[in-house]
């Protein structure tokens, strides 16, 4: 019987983290940002069937990048977590904080205990009554959680996308303007990337709706919003 080679724990963790980062870097990016009436999710995702953005509960949504089967498993677990809690207690007792904690524990355990870490990065967001009570949690493959404000970029070229968001993002923008900033940021993934409505997956948590606040935007609606913000910025630039 052969003995396995000794690998230092530091090296083991580093190898796993590198492996996960490489997997995530292969995929396309997703951005999440606040606007005046809620939280906007935009994914560079041409598929109409395989979603990167999904509804979890009344005020909570989920966005992910990385390996589809892995984040889909986490999404299903999140829907079960939310529905079980809401059924046992009350709908108002289901929170993004609780879900983010549960995901963090699970991802942390998978990262240290299993042979291969999950190659995923997640956002769990909950829309509040106003922008200051919105919550955006970003979770990475090793189970770390970050409490984000304003905007988040994750996926393949997250750094380039985040830089563009940082330049373009303003607090309290309209939906059309926030969408324009998000699409512009996602186009920075490659030098010549142009994203039309059909190549985007867009959804919102709109605090002005009733009960279930999650809504997907159709390509027609996306085009309409992008045209409106293009008009708006054209007007603004002629005024200058």
């Amino acid at each position: 019987m052969s003995m396995p080679f000794y690998v230092a724990p530091e090296q083991q963790m580093k190898d796993r983290a590198d492996y996960a980062r490489k997997g995530i870097a292969r995929g396309r990016s997703v951005v999440v940002l606040q606007y005046d009436d809620g939280i906007l999710f935009v994914a560079d995702n041409p598929s109409r069937a395989l979603h990167k953005i999904s509804e979890i509960y009344d005020r909570i949504a989920f966005a992910a990048v990385g390996k589809y089967n892995e984040f889909e498993q986490l999404r299903l677990a999140g829907v079960r977590y939310a529905d079980v809690n809401g059924y046992m207690y009350d709908r108002s007792d289901v929170t993004a904080r609780g879900l983010a904690n549960a995901y963090a524990q699970s991802l942390g355990a998978i990262f240290t205990e299993q042979t291969k870490p999950y190659e995923v990065e997640l956002v769990v967001a909950e829309v509040g009554d106003d922008a200051s009570s919105d919550q955006i949690y970003r979770l990475t493959f090793d189970g770390s959680v970050a409490d984000e404000h304003g905007f988040v970029a994750m996926g393949g070229a997250a750094d380039a996308v985040a830089t563009a968001l940082k330049e373009g993002y303003r607090d309290g923008e309209s939906l059309a303007e926030a969408l324009r900033v998000a699409v512009h940021a996602l186009q920075q993934q490659d030098a010549d990337r142009v994203l039309e409505a059909e190549k985007l997956e867009v959804a919102v948590l709109d605090r002005n709706r009733d009960r279930r606040l999650f809504r997907r935007l159709t390509p027609t609606r996306i085009d309409e919003l992008l045209a409106r913000s293009a008009d708006g910025s054209a007007e603004a630039s002629t005024e200058e």
Binding site: S54, L76, R80, V84, Y103, S106
Partner: protein, 280 residues
């Protein structure tokens, strides 16, 4: 693993590629939370648990109206005079309960989560038939309780997005599912309501007329059944009416139902038996 995942990560059963049914998942994770899984001894008849009474549903071209009176009775006592028994099941359907109120309300809550859970897990709405079948399964799970006297029988109505019509499904305590045509009623006053519906229903009812038919039928049920409550003009408590059309579920505002109810009561001063159907 019976503890909640709060702080402890998601239990393994949450991560399994299991069913898209919430009731099935709960049955595997916390079976004691399902209404039918509690073991009771003997009969519950003597407990005088509140009962929900009469429900009617009426189709019209373009949708269906469901309505329920507001009374719950425990023996000879009125347990509650403003109970609600008609609920949205999801965006395009409604469920209403007759029988043991507590179990009916719990089953309604479970059914609502069941439909929403499927929609989120699968990314699509169940067909109307699919929803009706799921409700039958939930009722079947309650058979043990029904044998001990805790019977609950819902009425389910919805807008069929594929066929573009309103449809009604009734159930028995064993989970039998029956599609009803045109109109239906359940509960203690249902016999009297059915007679009324039979004389008043026409295939070309407008939505406004279908509302009047529902209120008339509930009035007739309350007229002859002590467990059914009529419109309470002094307190301003009126039947709950829900309309389900291609715009989805909409609860008719109390003021609108109040206007219909007051007109119906007013007309009964001159004709206590209600509108006359033509003899030939």
């Amino acid at each position: 693993m019976a503890s909640m995942p709060m702080g402890g990560g998601l239990p393994g059963v949450f991560m399994n590629s299991g069913p898209s049914s919430f009731a099935d998942f709960l049955g595997a994770y916390r079976p004691e939370l399902l209404p039918g899984n509690r073991v009771a001894q003997g009969s519950a008849e003597h407990l005088n648990i509140p009962h929900a009474t009469t429900i009617v549903a009426v189709t019209f071209p373009g949708g269906v109206i469901m309505a329920g009176d507001r009374r719950a009775t425990a023996g000879n006592v009125i347990a509650q005079r403003d109970i609600e028994k008609v609920f949205p099941a999801d965006e395009y359907s409604a469920v209403a309960i007759a029988g043991t109120a507590g179990i009916g309300l719990e089953m309604t809550r479970l059914f609502q989560v069941e439909l929403e859970h499927y929609e989120k897990m699968e990314g699509r709405l169940l067909s109307l038939e699919g929803k009706a079948n799921r409700l039958a399964t939930l009722i079947r799970g309650n058979l043990g309780m029904a044998m001990q006297g805790l019977v609950v029988v819902p009425l389910f109505a919805g807008y069929d997005l594929e066929k573009g019509v309103g449809r009604i499904f009734s159930y028995d305590a064993a989970g039998g599912r029956y599609e009803e045509h045109d109109f239906h009623s359940i509960g203690s006053g249902s016999v009297f309501a059915r007679g009324s519906l039979k004389k008043l229903w026409r295939p070309d009812l407008s939505e406004a007329d279908a509302r009047i038919v529902c209120v008339q039928a509930l009035y007739d049920a309350a007229d002859d059944d002590s467990a059914t409550g009529g419109p309470d003009l002094t307190r301003g408590i009126f039947p709950v009416l829900a309309s389900i059309t291609d715009d989805g579920f909409r609860r008719v505002p109390d003021e609108e139902v109040g206007d219909v109810a007051r007109a119906v009561v007013e007309a009964r001063y001159s004709s206590p038996g209600g509108p006359n159907a033509p003899l030939r």
